[in-house]
């Protein structure tokens, strides 16, 4: 339980970063990456993050909290499952699945938002469509950034992606050489 809290703080900070894209900059939503890194616990992490946004003035009102949690939490869970299923330990595959998970997470969140709006009345169809369209650049950026992040994590700390730990290639080589030398000298 406390473990998720500390990691959630990092996600919170990450979501405050504005990524430049052409003329403007975009804030990342990150439900996909949260899902990839935390698995089923992602929902709780997102809920806590949203509550804290409410406290720390980022977010408007508490009545929409439930809807927002679902909107971001469910895609996170879906992407978590998707990533587990798709990746197979091979680097390219992992990065592609990571990118897909990242982009899909945001896309699903946008779709959920549009759905919520649309169910508010058929007056809201146009708004829903616009909301969806507005999220397209975010989805693109998130796909790309997720790819980078997953690629980084794969090389640096694969355990975070629930992959087996990989030894530093050079370190392994040196170890083998050292062992070879030892066995030579002892024989």
């Amino acid at each position: 339980m406390p473990k998720i809290a500390v990691v959630t703080s990092a996600f919170f900070i990450a979501s405050l970063i504005s990524v430049p894209m052409g003329p403007t900059s975009v804030h990342l939503l990150l439900p996909g990456i949260v899902g990839v890194l935390l698995g089923p616990a992602a929902f709780l992490s997102i809920a806590v993050g949203l509550i804290l946004q409410c406290f720390l003035f980022q977010f408007g009102g508490i009545t929409a909290l439930g809807a927002n949690a679902l909107m971001m939490g469910v895609p996170a869970l879906i992407c978590a499952a998707l990533f587990r299923v798709l990746q197979n330990g091979d680097r390219r595959r992992v990065v592609w699945s990571g990118a897909l998970a990242g982009g899909l997470g945001t896309a699903l969140a946008a779709i959920f938002l549009a759905l919520f709006l649309a169910t508010a009345g058929d007056n809201f169809f146009a708004v829903a469509k616009l909301a969806l369209a507005a999220h397209v650049p975010v989805v693109i950026i998130e796909t790309l950034v997720s790819a980078m992040v997953v690629s980084f994590l794969f090389r640096v700390k694969p355990e975070l992606l629930s992959l087996p730990r990989r030894e530093d290639a050079v370190a392994v080589k040196e170890k083998l050489e050292a062992e070879a030398k030892e066995s030579e000298s002892s024989s």
Binding site: A5, A14, I51, L52, F57, N123, A134, F152
Partner: protein, 309 residues
Amino acid sequence: MNTALSWPESLLVLAVLLAPLLLPLLYFILYRRGRREGLVAPIVSLAEMAGGDSFFHRWHTGLKVGCLLITCFLFVTLRTIPGCLAGLAIAALAVTVSGLSWRRSLARLAAMSGFLTLLIVMLPFSGVMQADEKSFSLAFLPAALPLRLSGLHTASLIVFKAMAIALLMEPMLATASLAATLRGFRQIGVPVALTQMILLCHRYIFVFQQEAARMWRGMRVRGFTARGDWASLTAIGNFLGMLFVSSFERTQRVYEAMLCRGFTGEMPEIGSEPIKRHDIGKAVFWLILAVAPLVAERFLHDFTQFFHK
């Protein structure tokens, strides 16, 4: 019934529609004039404001949180513009009475303004026109795209309600220390595990903010400027990856530190807040205030119905 508007009238209508955008502008002018030095905007800590002395500060946190929450949900059910405006007025009054700086309140409103503008601009121009509906044709738009008054009505309701609820967040959350407010939440039924996570998360937000700021400085010192190209994205991806790795490692260490200080799964709690008579009095007073717009709406509705008959 369609009324065509002249240019000046149309521009006036447009200005009214875009009014919510004034909020972030106002915020920027009033409070954020300094140039931002870092990648991440500074987060104002809750600790700084909890030391006030007002109606809200001296209220029992559980009752306060509960009543204000009820108020939020009550306001959501408001149906008329006067009712929503009354709700907004009450919320604004609450913020003023609590003595909190308007900076945060304005920031909240500014954060929502994008979405609100979207609604207010889109709703009146979209949707299906009813036969006897009143509408306006703006001078610079084709006649096929009239401004539906009912759309404007709906949008305004949403805008006012959203603003009222956002404003109520301030007296609800910022008039006591985080620990006290969360204790209040626990008293209205929020699970303990969740509040503990919120407390811990809040603390480490600042730690990671500082780490992120240092990493960002390390990047800037080597000439990094955020452009929209592939290299920048790679750098940001690396930055985020490093942040996540650091957070996972820190999680492990914090957990061990907690274990070594006797943590058994629940954060220890001492101190209780007894409910005094004046707390209950405040609750009653507030709830009456909160219900007033709804009652007034109802009354007005019945009144006008009566007159139409």
